[in-house]
Symmetry: C2
Subunit: 374 residues, 2 copies
């Protein structure tokens, strides 16, 4: 249907310029999103575009500008075969990451995409990216790369110039995509540092500082028999949150802290809490390395007749929508995911031209948000 609008007789740039009473060059600048055009003039041109029905062909423009004005937003895993899909996403490199476990059986049948969206984390990434791109006339192309074929497709897509670069949220420590992108000389920025050293730009959180805030808060409440539900320990964020929690407590004389490893899903938090309760029935404080696991812990504590926070105080991590949905609402460590995602987009688009700009990193500071659970 759009074809009809490109046939002879279709409105031209000149028609728009005439209707707006400005030069062709000005129309072109507004249409191509050049900055520093007077907002009033932008508005006049936009109205003229609307009145005339002018539609510049984006493919033709891309050929000239060599820019796609699009960004790929890629959620990647570590799977090799398509058959591996159902098993991926249980671990998450990116702070919180892909949901999964039994929850994925509701609303999605356990596919990688369903697992990704089961966690409120990813929606926050999209929000931050869209809020940054949209005022710049750009939109994210959503891609998933959990198999080797899907990764090849992402690399090919970028090589074709279909997008000007990739924003990558990696859900697995073994994810090869960051390495593939840098080897191909493609522009990319990661959410969270890569688990293996790769010369690629990223945004991340000071995870250890966040865990320190959680530990200090639990100590200040008077908790003395503390335990933690960690994230997957092959993931930098999982390791760093555990280290930060333990180191802070060690400085306060707590030499040994029981740990149950989870996978950043609500279900894995439930399983971990059951185990901790069996082994340490007298515990009075728990730090869970994300809000979904903290929610699972609260469910299990209640089922065992423990009041939160009176008997056991619980602190989560992320400050996602799960923190407010939980009963009681979670005291948690805020990760400013939206701001981090926006910064990721800024790093990608503001990079100096040329294939060999050095990798850069931006680290955000966590913040304690006190609600009812601790």
């Amino acid at each position: 249907m759009t074809d009809d609008r490109r046939s002879a007789g279709a409105p031209t740039l000149e028609d728009v310029a005439r209707a707006a009473g400005v030069s062709r060059a000005t129309v072109s600048r507004v249409i191509n999103g050049v900055r520093n055009v007077d907002p009033a003039i932008q508005e006049v041109v936009r109205q003229a575009v609307s009145v005339t029905g002018y539609a510049p062909n984006r493919a033709a423009r891309s050929l000239v500008t060599r820019r796609a004005d699009a960004v790929a937003l890629v959620v990647s895993g570590a799977g090799v075969e398509a058959e591996a899909e159902a098993g991926v996403g249980a671990e998450a490199a990116a702070g919180s990451g892909a949901g999964g476990g039994s929850r994925a059986t509701a609303g999605g049948g356990g596919s990688f995409t369903a697992q990704v969206f089961a966690d409120p984390f990813f929606g926050r990434v999209v929000t931050g990216v869209v809020d940054y791109l949209r005022p710049r006339g750009m939109h994210p192309v959503l891609m998933f790369a959990e198999t080797s074929r899907a990764r090849d497709e992402v690399v090919a897509y970028l090589r074709q110039g279909s997008a000007d670069g990739a924003l990558v949220v990696s859900t697995h420590a073994e994810d090869p995509l960051p390495g593939l992108l840098t080897e191909a000389g493609l522009a990319a920025v990661l959410f969270a540092r890569p688990a293996r050293p790769v010369p690629i730009s990223y945004v991340d959180l000071a995870h250890q500082d966040g865990a320190r805030l959680a530990a200090e808060h639990l100590l200040a409440r008077g908790c003395r028999r503390l335990a933690t539900i960690s994230g997957p320990l092959d993931v930098p964020a999982g390791r760093a949150r555990l280290t930060g929690f333990r180191d802070t407590l060690a400085r306060h004389g707590h030499a040994y802290i029981p740990v149950a490893e989870g996978r950043f899903t609500q279900e894995s938090g439930e399983v971990a809490m059951e185990r901790l309760l069996v082994e340490h029935p007298d515990l009075d404080g728990v730090f869970a390395a994300n809000d979904l696991m903290a929610t699972g812990a609260c469910h299990v504590l209640r089922e065992h007749g423990r009041r939160v926070p009176e008997d056991v105080a619980v602190v989560g991590f992320d400050d996602s929508s799960a923190a407010l949905a939980c009963r009681p609402p979670l005291t948690t460590v805020r990760q400013p995911v939206e701001a981090m995602a926006a910064e990721m987009a800024r790093l990608l688009l503001d990079r100096p031209p040329g294939p060999s700009s050095p990798a850069t990193s931006v680290i955000f500071e966590p913040e304690l948000v006190v609600r009812a659970s601790a």
Copy 2:
């Protein structure tokens, strides 16, 4: 950086054909995703593409094929000004729809995008769309249209040929976008029928039948003092679920059913449940028109010392991840959102060429999923 790869000396289609030991035509067919190419040959060509580093230019191809091989996935609202953003999304036309309320303050500061992703519904739509598009070498471009300017941008984007059509999830009964798209002669398919008559294709659920399943289940359990938390009543799905529930009960002699109207958010479910409990403290069964509101109802019932399901049985709607995350896990009416979203993509891509193909509709059947809450 991709520019470097297009300069003189860059690998050509001939290089790939030589490396793969096949004809240029075969390489072209594989690269352009033509079906019915032997999978073994596809693999050989893909490896040759990888080895040679060949990258066909997508913009150039789009100019020839007049297809973008991209689809816009648009979440639209009804706002007029950018300033209206924070207020939109409270109501949802699409079955479940945009989250909001107090939850949006965690993880997003209440922006439209944040509200959309606070509801597990939208992730399921993305999952279904991606699972359909990906094997066809296509990817969704994610767009939000909650203001008049954003709507103009979506229309311009499609007119420019940047995408071959739009899949639209409307979050508000007053959304003007479906009308704008049909007026512009652009290809589009809606999730859920439009609140006002517009000649546009859509997929939808038999909502009344779903509500009937909920009513019959509560009656079969022996519940006799029933109430319902409805969705927003200016939205077709909200109205249809209420009508289906009431009509079924009327046929069983229940002439009057108390209703509290919610907005498809957990918080609105809590407020509605509080009100119902004050006015009808002896109720023994509640049908909430989505899982988030049912979760809120369970929280409030527990806070008032009512056991679910022993004292009050609760049935939700959607079978989203919220249904399994709830304690107790929710008995609910399953809306096959992923299958519906895939069908939406199929309708868009399989449409007959030409601007005036008639609007078509596909209605899915709901299913009762029995868990612990009723």
